[in-house]
Symmetry: C2
Subunit: 255 residues, 2 copies
Amino acid sequence: MPHRLSSELDRHRQRKGSDLDEPLLADFRVGVDNVIFSVDTDLQRLLVLLVMRQEEPFLGQWCLPGTLVRNGEALEAAADRILAEKIRVQNLYLEQLYTFGGPMRDPREAKDSYGVRYLSVSYFALVRYSEAELIADGVSGIAWYPMNQLPDLAFDHAKIIQYGHCRLRNKLEYSPVAFEVLPEVFTLSDLYQLYTTVLGENFSDYSNFRSRLLKLKFLEDTGIKASRGAGRPASLYKFDAEAFAPLKDKALVFI
Amino acid sequence: MPHRLSSELDRHRQRKGSDLDEPLLADFRVGVDNVIFSVDTDLQRLLVLLVMRQEEPFLGQWCLPGTLVRNGEALEAAADRILAEKIRVQNLYLEQLYTFGGPMRDPREAKDSYGVRYLSVSYFALVRYSEAELIADGVSGIAWYPMNQLPDLAFDHAKIIQYGHCRLRNKLEYSPVAFEVLPEVFTLSDLYQLYTTVLGENFSDYSNFRSRLLKLKFLEDTGIKASRGAGRPASLYKFDAEAFAPLKDKALVFI
DNA sequence: ACAAAAGTGTTTTTTATACACCCATGC
DNA sequence: GCATGGGTGTATAAAAAACACTTTTGT
């Protein structure tokens, strides 16, 4: 936030490019990068959405879908915009992740060195895999990558993804994000598989997971049964947001 | 992060100030604002450091200590710099909080409207009250304000403080930040008082708090006793960082 | 009939909560 | 000696973890 005299700001503008020893204020381009996660429960894979860079620097390398922020556009609006450009979804969860803004994180800073800095406000998103439709514009590459098979990434995007992965794991444990990714109705095994896919096999036993969740009373049994191949058909449940509301601020554990 | 063609960037620069319907990239001033907390255990008060604004806008109003980011300066370095300008401390805890970047959060955006946006990357800090020495430069006001008696604040700084307060409460519960604020050696009541001051009276019973903490085995009893007025003298403990290290990633609860 | 998946229950261990009580010091 | 704050222990309740077992389907 600004606390400098506006006269100093003016001096800064005049002197731009000069090499005085007095430190100058940096000029920023602010970008937004989305770490968009999805879970393929069938293949038990945690996926991240990547796009292929169409220009320099890092032309031809994979990176996170991002954009520069426009005039009059809120940060989250920019995150929404780039997301909507790449993917069609009905439901999504989106929140700010972290701001990466060290100098030299973008090679353009060095090259044309107008003193322009590139700052990235990263966002974390979770979308429903089954209903997520990728928008391929014919030219640019776009694909889901499994978290354990990420390619080389442009900029510091590998770091951003790691950060997002941490957040996802934590979110799962103490907040109901899972229900943003699951279909309207789902079986408890669906839910369990989602958790194991993200947190790993050994986070909890199925039957304990099950009883813990049901004791919280915000999963409503629709009574409808879903038969998937062999085995006993499972009850379809739905998340009851109203029943969850009073628990919102409590430190509850889903694991 | 930048994904636009550099040619578009050039067009943007030429057209700056024109009113075409095509959306233009925003030019950003990036500031850093610190929410610096401290705990006065004697008076049982949670404090925030505020400074008086010396210029327009909001001249004469209290706000968070902040600064604009300089050329070649990392965000956290800017946060460190402004902190060091206002306060002398040996120990501190500093981490990024959130980035506030909606349009019109700074009145200067509207007034001189070069399309310049003011973005604030906020940082969260915790300092030891007893050893924190405020730097008064004679002109500018600077003061600790109790969280429950905050004055009117410039910009959206009240919101930023609320956000920081949430973070502080959460941090206390699952991470050892408390030991950053306490002196090298401290009594368990000191620690307990710190927790009650931040979290409120009814978070836990003293004796349970005590045994829970001691069971974690990272508080070392120095054997030295501290007598403070009446009552039995208390043992002085010190935080053992090595003993804590293996617990670092575990989801442990301090409350 | 039997394998596969869903769902229930039981036992053991650990942790949380609410207290009651003893200890060491200053006045 | 007694108020004051420090420190220990115990009894009860609740939660986590491990695992055995029953139920309902497809083949």
